[in-house]
Subunit: 359 residues, 2 copies
């Protein structure tokens, strides 16, 4: 071994000042230093002052690794997301980091790249890093959950957000997609539309399934029948929205509104409708889902559902911290369901304000 020489004169340079250094300087024990810094009651006020002062002077930086090792718990939280792109995940991460930071935690971020194997490696890495808890939004390809069992068996707090594994025995924060679709479709109906079409997403993903169900619920509520030709299943790409709209406009009785389960797809539909000379929202009203940034930019602006990204992040952290603070006392899993917000914009607003009635 090459024991680093404790040269007190060399403190100006590579300054790894430890508690031991402070203790030696003050002629007290490390116990006193540690307790003074953490404001323990058994240290006298003047001694505390002396310690604090010396710590400032040498600008002592506590080593959280050592503390975490000793205490068995770190001040780190782990996040696993499919990727950090687009609008949704960055916003949620933003919310998470902000809330975690406020609570004195730092955040380690991992990407699964929608790959279950990578997700598993991420879990291992976070376990290795001794995080105090893990937040995860599942990869598309994740179908087996034993890597999360490992987390649970260690008694490590775990919260899913947005993409959860379902069931009542997990902690999760999700958006009420059913409700979002319901109020969006209801809104279109309230604008006088009677043939509301739906651009649906892959039904093996629960979010899209729930949105479809919400759409159906709104139709039932209004006493309208489901017309098969007005529901198109897509992968939510912009081009597919356009293609669907093209086919709809060729129908003898085309829809007078479209509820899309995604904004990009809604955009495609909007553009195609205008290309075909239809007026939006007069001829066909359109609403999307996710409140992507561009929905405010299009002509007209697109009615959409806000997914409360920030709140989702905050709620996720809150749920995680509650578990952490619960410690080893039994904690019954809880699901937080966020209510979506309908943002009515130009693409769907047909009912004229009080004034000259429009056709």
């Amino acid at each position: 071994m090459a024991p680093r020489k404790k040269n007190p004169a060399a403190l100006t340079t590579n300054s790894p000042v430890s508690m031991a250094d402070l203790a030696r300087e003050l002629g007290v024990s490390m116990t006193t230093i540690s307790r003074a810094l953490s404001n323990h009651h058994s240290i006298g006020p003047e001694m505390k002052a002396r310690v604090l002062k010396l710590a400032k002077k040498y600008n002592y930086q506590p080593n959280r690794l050592a503390a975490a090792l000793r205490k068995g718990k770190s001040q780190l939280l782990g996040i696993i997301v499919p990727y950090i792109e687009g609008r949704f995940f960055p916003s949620v991460v933003h919310g998470i980091e902000t809330a975690a930071s406020r609570a004195g935690y730092n955040v380690i971020i991992c990407q699964s790249n929608e790959d279950a194997a990578q997700e598993q490696r991420n879990v291992e890495a976070l376990l290795s890093a001794q995080v105090a808890g893990i937040m995860v939004s599942l990869a598309r390809t994740t179908s087996t959950y034993q890597h999360f069992e490992k987390v649970r068996s260690r008694g490590l707090p775990l919260v899913f957000f947005d993409r959860s594994m379902g069931g009542e025995d997990v902690n999760a924060v999700v958006l009420n997609d059913h409700e979002g679709a319901l109020i969006s479709t209801r809104h279109l109906l309230s604008q006088g539309c009677r043939r509301v079409a739906h651009l649906a997403g892959p039904q093996h993903l629960s979010i899209y399934k729930n949105r479809y169900q919400g759409y159906l619920a709104a139709l039932r509520e209004a006493g309208l029948p489901l017309e098969e030709e007005l529901v198109v299943f897509t992968d939510m790409a912009q081009a597919e929205g356009a293609a669907a709209m093209r086919r709809w406009l060729e129908l003898p009785n085309p829809p007078d509104a479209v509820f899309s389960a995604g904004d990009y797809c809604a955009l495609g539909a909007l553009q195609e409708a205008r290309r075909q000379g239809r007026r939006v929202p007069e001829d066909v009203a359109i609403s999307g889902f996710s409140n992507e940034a561009f929905t405010l930019i299009t002509e007209p602006t697109i009615t959409t559902i806000d997914q409360r990204c920030e709140e989702m992040g905050q709620a996720t952290v809150r749920l995680l911290l509650e578990q952490i603070e619960a410690g080893s006392t039994p904690f019954t899993p809880r699901q937080t369901v966020l209510q979506p917000e309908l943002l009515v914009r130009g693409s769907s607003l047909r009912v004229s304000r009080p004034g000259p009635a429009e056709a």
Copy 2:
């Protein structure tokens, strides 16, 4: 103290299996375990196999905290960004995390919220967490740099990206903004435009200053004079782009092109021009900067400069890792300058393909 009972039978539950446990089980020393797991040459092949097997069986998770404490270096990198929103920072973070992960590092992410004081706290937190290096994009309000001096004095690798503190003695990865503005303006000129206006950003930010200089350089190159009325200084908001365009169109001799230092501002100008009945790009060509997602969605699509977000992240990690691997051997600071990419789109493409020459 409450020494946790080492109950070998209880391993199935809260399984914090340590090397000591494995050593006891195999009747060997911890040295052997440690070296077997790290594939040290002084451990025989069969012993290695036995250790590996037992580790799998108990699914042993190495404790990186302890390793980092002992070795004095962790497998963690720190990132400080102003915020995790919009297109740019999330993309860079994406690139960083991907590259870091590939190199076996995990990443702690912090937000400064454009606040210098918060940025300083972030630095302290990362130092406390004993990260192996720090990557930072400066907050707008940062004007003093002593918190980074602290980092440097510890010999901790430090790399700035995008928003650097300038100078030759720091490590930085930046985009060549001057070049981006140059090629963009040059492009507008090549389209036959002769009165190219500029939507400039706050000049105390180097990126906007450089873009302005690039614009000027292109004019000089073409032998065109700078016309004061064609340069408007804004904060790059969409509304300001619209306002500027409105004023320009009232001029007796309005510009036939606009190079905006930002996409949002360009969007405002584009929308205003069309509101005023001008054709884009025929009457006025427009180009932006940053390759925001919406530039592909507008009508027409907006010519812009791609900032190589991903490459910036990768280059940042590369530069940081080089420093880390250099260890204590002197490392001369280096600046990596990324070349921007011009994306020609509908808003600026005026020159008809080979055919009748335009006026």
